[in-house]
Each structure stands twice: as C-alpha cells, then as structure tokens.
C-alpha cells in the first residue's frame, strides 16, 4: 500500500467539500441555508486554489468572494428575507427538468474532462516554491517576468501583459459602483395625489 499522498488527500478533502456544499446549495430551498452552504463551498474552492499553487488567487477568493461578494449577497438575503421568500418551493416538474438537463450537461462536461490523456495522467511534480503575488502584480502592470526567457516569438507575444484589461476592469468597477448605488437608492413613495400646497 502506497503512502498517502497528502497533496491528493487535501485535494480530495477540499474537492468533496466544494462539491458537496455546491450540491447542497442546489438541494436546499431555504435561502439562508443556501447562503451558508455557498460560503462553505467557495471557501473550499479557495483551498483547491492553494493546492494548485495559486496562492494569490486563493487569497483573493477568500478576501473578495467570501469576504466581499458573499457578504453582499447575505445582506441581500437579509433585506428580502421576509416570510414567504425565505423558502420558495419549486415545482416538481421544474426540478425534474432541471435535474435532467443538469445531468446531461454534467455528463458532457465530465466526459470532456476525462477524455484528454494529458490531463488525466499526472507525473509527480517537483515542489517548486513559487510566490505568485509579485509576478501577478507585474503582469497586471504589463511585465511578464515569468516569460522573459521565451524564445519562441509567437509565445513571446504574451509579454504584453494585462495592463489594458486591468484599466478596463478598474473603470468597469467604478461604473458598477455608481450604477448599483443608483439602482439601489431609496425610492420616494408617492402616497396619494400631488401635494396640496394651498
């Protein structure tokens, strides 16, 4: 019996967590439970990221997703969580249909994921300690330090980095900020007719 590959062990652990809580999100009909399971599923995903060597992305997953976006969602749940809306039952037909279609899609994706040999066979890789944060930061600023020694001129084209998408995303975020603030601003309710000034 081979020794336990701890990397695989933790992968399996986080994978089961993520898949299980994802399915739980689907299964439950209580919105508050859904929010909770989602938090756990996303948190487990960040573990998977770490295991894949993407330390910065995993950190961002925890920070922005679990700490920001999900809190936002939970606020939404809190603001709308009134009696009938907490648990809204879906008709059985819809459920069956959803399950069928989802199953088909799942079969398709799983088949795709397992069909490529290069993806399935995995050589034990030398543990290379790589801190990705600074390299990601440089890439966002336009400098791909990981590809400085690229000989292939076609591949060297990737040297351009991600400065422009970064700018676009920044502006996008600003627009989203303003848009959401505008959309969610409190409405003045008109009660009755126009105000009688006399």
């Amino acid at each position: 019996m081979d020794a336990i590959n701890w990397h695989s062990f933790f992968f399996l652990f986080f994978a089961l967590l993520a898949c299980g809580f994802s399915l739980a999100v689907v299964m439950t009909s209580n919105i508050v439970h859904m929010a909770f399971y989602l938090t756990l599923a996303l948190g487990a995903t960040s573990g998977l990221f770490f295991l894949a060597g993407a330390d910065f992305v995993g950190a961002m997953q925890l920070l922005i997703y679990v700490g920001g976006t999900l809190v936002l969602l939970i606020f939404g749940v809190m603001l709308t969580a009134k009696g009938p809306f907490i648990s809204m039952k879906t008709s059985a037909g819809d459920l069956v249909l959803g399950a069928g279609v989802g199953g088909a899609l799942l079969v398709l994706l799983l088949a795709a994921a397992t069909q490529v040999d290069a993806w399935r066979v995995s050589e034990p890789s030398p543990p290379v300690a790589q801190v990705t944060a600074s390299r990601l930061g440089m890439a966002l600023l336009g400098a791909r330090v990981d590809k400085l020694d690229e000989k292939d001129p076609v591949q060297a084209r990737g040297m351009s980095g991600y400065l422009l998408p970064f700018e676009i995303v920044s502006v996008h975020l600003l627009v989203v900020l303003i848009g959401s603030a505008y959309l969610a601003r409190p409405k003045k309710r008109m009660v009755g007719g126009p105000v009688d000034t006399a």
Binding site: D94, L97, G98, V101, G102, A104, L105, L108
Partner: protein, 833 residues
C-alpha cells in the same frame, strides 16, 4: 365740322346701337315686360335712332362734305388742259380728269345733258378705330371705309330695318304668349306647345342689324369676313326660329352649310390677297409708326395706283409672288425688274401667273358673294330660308343680307379684272334666268318672292359683271325697298290667311286694301313700270340702267350678247310672275271661302310701314334731275341715289378696259350706256318686256283668256322641270348629299364593324389578360406574399411562445442549446475524419 372726324363717329354710333340692344336683350330680354314685350321696343328704338343718325349723316354731313369737293373739281375740270399732268394731281382731281374726258366725248357725240355724270369722285374716308392685334405684317383692325355708298347703305339698311322692326312688333305678337305650333306634331299626337320667344326674335334682329352694318362700314376685308360670318349665323338663327319644325331646322342647316361652301372660296381669295399684298385694308391708311406718319396703301391703291392713272395693273406684290422662282434664284426684285416681269407673258409667263393670282383672288371673293347672295350654283338655300318668320325674310333674305354679296362685289369692284367680271356677269345671268323661271310655277307666296329675290340679285350681279357699277348698286338700293315691301305685304297676307299657298287665296283686295295696293306698288316697282323717257317707279330706273349697260356690253362683245337677251327675257318673266302673284292673291274670286272669311286687314303697326316703304319703292329712284321741268334741281342741286352712287364710283373703273387672258373681252365705260343709242333701246326694251309680262299675267290670271291649266298641260315637261326647280335639289342630293351620306354610312359601318370590332376584340383580349393577371395576382403573387407573411407570422407566434419572460426557462434553453451544440459538433467531428 370736319366730316372725316364726324362721320366715323356718327356711323359707329349707329352701328353699335343694335349691338347694345342685342346685349340688353340677351341679358334682360325675358324680364322686359310681359313675355319680353319691351324687348321689341328696345330693339326698335335702337334701330330707329340708328336710322335717324344715318340719315343725319347722309344729309347733313356727307352732302356738305361732297359739295366741298365739287367746286374745286369743277374748276379743275374747267382748267383741264389736254396735257394735264395726271401723275401730279391729287386723287380726285386725277379721277375727274379721266372721267371728264369720257363725259366730254359723250356730250360731244350725243349732246346728252347729264351734268351729273361727271360728278367729282369724292375721296373716301378710311381709317381704323381699333387695332385688335398685330402679328408680324398681319394687322387685324376694326376699321372703316366711308364713301357715299357706305352712307347710302347705312341709311337704306337702317331705314328698312326700322320699318321691319315696327312691322315685326305686330307680326310677332303671337310669340308674346304660349304658342301652339300646328306644324309640329309630337310623338304623342299633340301639337307642340311652347312658351313664346318674342324677345329672342328681336335679339337676333338686333344682332343681325349690327352685323350687317359692320359689313357695310368695314374698312378691311378681314373685318368684312368676320361680320360676313356673323350675318351668316344670324341668318341661321332666324331661319331656324321655329326650330321645332323639321323643315325650319333643315333649312337653317342648308343655308349655313351652303354659305360655308362660298366662304371657303372667300378664304382662298383672302389668302391670295393677303399672301401677295400683305394688307387687308381697302383704303390708304395713315397711322403713326415710331412717331412718323406712314401712309400704307390699301388694296384699291395697290391694284389701281395713282402712278398707273388708276388703271388696273397687277400689283408688285403679286408679281413678286409669281416670280418667287426667279427671286429664289437670286434676282433682285427692283422696280425695273418687276416691270419687266409684269410684261412677261411668254415664255416664262411670270406676268401671266401674277395676273392669274389676281383672277384667283377676285374669283375667291366672288365665291363668298355667290354663297351669300344665293347665286347659281349656290342659290338653293334662299327659297328654303323662307321657313323663317316673314319679317326675317323681308329684312335678311331680301333687302339686306343677301344684298351683302352684291355689296361686296361692288366694294371690291376695283380689284376685279375683266375675266372675273365676265364670270360674275355669266353667273348673274344664269341665276336671274333660272330663278325667274322657277318663280313662274311656285305657288307658295313667299317662295315666289324668294325666287324673285334670287333673280333680282342675279340682275345686280349681271350689271356689275358687265361693268355697270352704278347700275348694279342702284338696283341693289331700289330692290331693297320694293322687295322688303313685297315681303312684308306677303307677310301681312300670311298673317291674315294663315297659309302660304296662293291657290287658296284670291280676291283679298277687298278684305285688306292697304296690303293689296301697297303690294301693287311694289309689283309695279319691281316690274320697272314707268313711262319711257319721262318718269317711272324706282325699278324702272335701275332696270333700265342694267339693260342699257348690258346692251352697251353686247355692242362691245357681240359674242356675249346673250347676256342682254337673257336680261330682257328675265324682265318679261319678272313682270309675269309678279302679277301672277298679285292677281292670284288679291284679284278674282276667293278660292277658299273659309280662309277668305277669316281674312282681315293687319293692324296699323303692320301696314303703316308698308305705306312708308311703298312711298319709297315708288320714289327712291327719283333724282331731282328727273323733275327738271319742276325746277327741283335748282332748289336742291342734283340729288338722288344715282348721283350719290356716282360719287362712290371706284376710281378708274370708268376707263374702258379689255381682258388679258381673253383679249377680245372689251369693257366699255359705264358712261357709254348713257349714250342714246344704247339708252333709248334699253328703255324701250324694258318697257316692252314689262308690259308684255304684265299683259300675259293679266290674260292668264285675271281675265282668264288663257287657261293656266292648259298652258301647264301643253308645256308638261317644262312645267315639271320648273316645279322641281330645275331639279337642283335633286341633283345636289344625288351628287353631293347622297354620296356624302353613302360615304358616311360606309364609314360608320367600317367604324362599327372593323374599328369597333377591333376595339371590342382588343378589349376582350385585354379583359382576358387582365383576368389571367388577376388570377396570377390573386393566387400566385398574393399567395406568395401571404405565405411569406403567414410564415413570418407563424414563426413569430411560435418564437413568441418561447419568449415566456421566465428567467429560469432561459437558463434552461441556454443549457439545452449548449448540450445540443456539443452533441452536434462531436457528431460531425466523429463522422468527418
């Protein structure tokens, strides 16, 4: 008082008054009193004032004006040396010079003391009132040409018209209330019942007077043509006054169409004249062009220019027109060249062509006159025109309108070359004989008079054609008076008897003495009754003049002697049929007692004009010189219609001339007819013929020595020929009407069968194609369009079902679509390699 200024104004006033009356009646006629009774008074008043103005113009303006010419002319005559420089004298002096030579010759030879014969020729007053328009060289104007003939015609027309207007006020009173026309049967067997048309009658009479006076005063041939057509249309209206009668409407159409034939020739004449001479005006016109006074020569001066001593010479314009080929070849039309051309009758014949152009112009104008004056061969319309009311027959179809043709020939006399005059003479001769013979057998009182009119018009044409200008015009004036008198008397008879048939009359003189004796005066006048060499009725003088002229012509041209003999024979027949008419109507025993018992004398308003006209019919031919034993000419000078006409004698026409194409054709001077050798013969012949005709009528119809029936039976074929009016209507019917109708029917048939058939077939085909088209349209095109539309609609509806608005379903669709795409792509990839 300057006559040249006053006369046009006076005559224009007299001319326009009937127009004003016409306009008034057109607009207000039906409202003028009960049934328009005042319309008659308006029209009568207008023409009466016009008559007074005309008479004033004649006696108080024209006579002083003409006298002013006389004295210097006499002096010029007195001072006339044999070598009088003809080219330097003014127009009238020059004319009187040539005139005087003949008068001298006449006096020298015969010692005839006719001082009036060398009366000076008065310069006519010519001018334009108003220019209607100028189109290049074509200048259309309302102008005037006034000489003594104009003034005399004005007085004559307005005077007779006044009498007839008064008369018509009585004659037409039936029209004041609703009329039952017994000659019109409606489809339901009843007689036509219609409202009266009193005002309309006077409206047309006024328009007619206006038009007739327009012809008389017209200063150019274009204006004459306009008024010529106007009198034509008035005649059409008046003949067709009883429009409901088939015969009346036919007669109106016949008159109008026959006149159009003549007018067609007239238009050719107009074109020939204008095309070569470039002017329509008669007299010389002085008008301002660009601030300068320019005198444009009129037709008469162009044809008989002063430089040619008023001889008829083919005018330069016509020579140029004839020499168009030479001019086109580059020849310069200088005066010398034109003179050379004019002389060329051989071999290039330019001069002959130019002369022919003048002949064509003259014949064309005469053609119009043939139509209007009912000359052979276009005489057929006038007897039928008697369908109109009798005042119309009196005014329009005897005294004035038909005289317009003769008047125009007289007016155009200077332009007619001898050959044209010969044609006129022969036409007149044939006409007078034909019409007179037809009149013998006619039994309709108005038709006898109508044929008599045609015959007398033939006399006038004959007179003009043989060179007797004064004779012809004189007969025109005298005839107008006695013929209108005769017609009005016949109208009075018809009014009393309600029939036109003379065979049903008889003995009426006891019932209606005024009518009978005025008519007797008219008959005597037309017969030319008179005592030879002393005095007679008006017709006596004019007919004598015509016969004398014809005799003088016969002397110059023995080969055309038949003109004189036919005229003399015509005089016999004239006397015969006139007294046949009078005896049948007024003398003897009544043949139809029913009519006789109901006959009555006409009202005063009708027979007063008869008396007035009778006086004129007797005396209008008189001149003061005829009463020299009474000393009247010392009192009034030499005055009379003849003297007035002498004043108007066209310049230069007194010269003896001869034909160019017919070189043997010689025209004597009209003054030669006054030579005793012609005059005495003519007067005796006239007296003899008149008396013999009268005696024959007396014998046959009053004393019944000769039975009319026996004569009729003896001359059966001739009688048949005459009673059928020489078969003219039948011949025309066979020659023109039937072929035209045949052609018309064939064309109609062709139209109906071929053209209509073709069109029907085409229409049928078009309809078939359209039907097919409709089917294609409806089922194929529309089907396609509808199919597209319904497909689009169905797809839309179907897709609409997909658009549920449900968010979750959309997600489903996306997933399903993704999965399906994967499957499809993988299937394709699996199948491909």
């Amino acid at each position: 008082m300057d006559a040249a200024v006053v006369l046009p104004k006076l005559l224009a006033l007299a001319w326009l008054l009937p127009l004003a009356s016409f306009t008034l009646i057109v607009f207000f006629g039906p409202r003028m009193g009960h049934a328009g009774v005042r319309a008659g008074q308006v029209a009568t008043g207008a023409i009466l004032i016009g008559c007074l103005i005309s008479l004033y113009a004649l006696f108080f303006v024209w006579l002083p004006y003409s006298h002013a010419f006389e004295t210097p002319a006499e002096e010029a005559h007195a001072a006339a040396a044999p070598d009088h420089p003809a080219a330097t004298g003014d127009e009238h002096a020059d004319a009187s010079h040539g005139d005087a030579d003949h008068a001298d010759a006449a006096h020298g030879a015969e010692g005839h003391a006719a001082a009036s014969h060398h009366a000076p020729i008065i310069k006519p007053i010519a001018g334009d009132w108003y220019a209607l328009g100028e189109f290049g060289s074509l200048r259309i104007t309302i102008g005037y040409y006034i000489d003594s003939l104009t003034v005399l015609m004005f007085s004559m027309v307005t005077f007779i018209a006044t009498c007839i207007h008064f008369y018509a006020n009585g004659y037409m009173h039936d029209e004041l209330h609703d009329v039952v026309d017994h000659e019109v049967k409606l489809a339901n067997g009843h007689h036509l019942h219609r409202p009266g048309r009193f005002h309309r009658f006077f409206q047309y009479l006024s328009l007619f007077c206006f038009s007739m006076l327009g012809i008389v005063i017209a200063g150019n041939i274009a204006m004459i043509f306009v008024f010529w057509e106007l009198v034509g249309i008035c005649s059409y209206f008046l003949i067709g006054f009883y429009i409901e009668r088939k015969s009346a409407s036919n007669a109106a159409n016949k008159a109008f169409i026959v006149n159009r034939i003549g007018d067609f020739g007239m238009i050719i004449g107009l074109m020939a004249l204008f095309g070569s001479l470039g002017t329509f005006a008669f007299g010389d016109l002085t008008r301002e062009v660009d601030g300068k006074e320019v005198t444009e020569p009129g037709l008469f001066s162009l044809v008989r220019s002063e430089a040619n001593h008023h001889h008829l010479v083919v005018p330069d314009g016509m020579v140029k027109a004839a020499a168009a080929d030479e001019i086109a070849a580059g020849a310069e039309p200088t005066a010398e060249k034109i003179a050379e051309w004019r002389g060329e009758t051989e071999p290039k014949q330019v001069g002959r062509y130019a002369y022919w152009l003048l002949v064509v112009a003259g014949l064309g104008i005469f053609c119009g006159c043939v139509g209007k004056s009912a000359q052979f061969p276009l005489h057929v319309w006038l007897p039928d025109a008697m369908e109109g009311p009798t005042p119309v027959s009196a005014l329009v179809h005897s005294a004035t309108m038909v005289a317009a043709g003769v008047y125009l020939v007289g007016r155009f006399f200077p332009v007619f070359v001898p050959e044209v005059l010969l044609v006129i003479a022969i036409t007149g001769c044939i006409t007078l004989f034909l019409a007179a013979t037809i009149a013998i057998t006619a039994t309709d009182i108005k038709r006898v008079l109508a044929y008599s009119t045609v015959s007398q018009l033939g006399y006038m044409m004959l007179a003009l054609g043989v060179g007797g200008w004064v004779a012809g015009m004189f007969h025109l004036i005298t005839h107008a008076f006695f013929k209108s008198l005769l017609f009005m008397c016949s109208g009075s008879v018809i009014h009393a008897c309600h029939t036109n048939d003379m065979m049903k009359m008889g003995g009426l003189r006891k019932k209606m003495p005024w009518t009978a004796y005025t008519m007797l005066a008219g008959c005597l006048a037309i017969m030319g009754a008179g005592v030879p060499f002393s005095i007679g009725l008006s017709g006596h003088y004019s007919k004598d003049a015509i016969l004398a002229q014809a005799y003088s012509f016969k002397d110059s041209n023995p080969s055309f002697g038949f003109l004189f003999y036919v005229a003399a024979l015509g005089a016999v027949i004239t006397a015969f049929y006139m007294f046949r008419l009078w005896f049948l109507t007024f003398a003897g025993e009544p043949r139809d007692h029913h009519i006789y018992d109901h006959a009555h004398e006409s009202p005063k308003i009708m027979y007063y004009p008869l008396v007035v006209l009778a006086v004129f019919a007797v005396g209008v031919g008189w001149s003061t010189t005829d009463f020299s034993w009474f000393g009247l000419h010392h009192l009034f000078g030499e005055f009379g219609v003849r003297e007035l006409l002498d004043q108007a004698q066209p310049v230069g026409t007194l010269e003896p001339t001869h034909g160019v194409l017919l070189e043997n054709l010689k025209y004597p001077s009209e003054h030669d007819s006054h030579l005793d050798k012609y005059h005495i013969t003519a007067e005796l012949v006239a007296f003899g013929t008149a008396i013999s005709g009268f005696l024959l009528a007396l014998a046959m119809y009053d004393y019944r020595i000769l039975s009319a029936a026996e004569v009729r039976a003896h001359f059966g074929p001739i009688y048949q020929l005459l009673i059928h009016k020489w078969y003219f209507d039948e011949i025309y019917n066979a020659l023109f009407v039937q072929p035209t109708l045949f052609l018309g029917r064939r064309v109609a048939q062709f139209d109906k069968q071929v053209i209509d058939g073709l069109i029907d077939r085409l229409a049928w085909m078009t309809r078939g194609v359209a039907h097919l088209d409709d089917l294609i349209d409806r089922y194929f095109i529309d089907g396609l369009v509808n199919l597209t539309a319904s497909c689009t609609y169905g797809v839309g509806i179907w897709f609409r079902g997909a658009e549920t608005g449900k968010l979750r379903q959309y997600v489903m669709f996306i997933v399903v679509a993704t999965v399906s795409l994967f499957f499809l792509v993988s299937l394709i990839l699996a199948g491909g390699p």
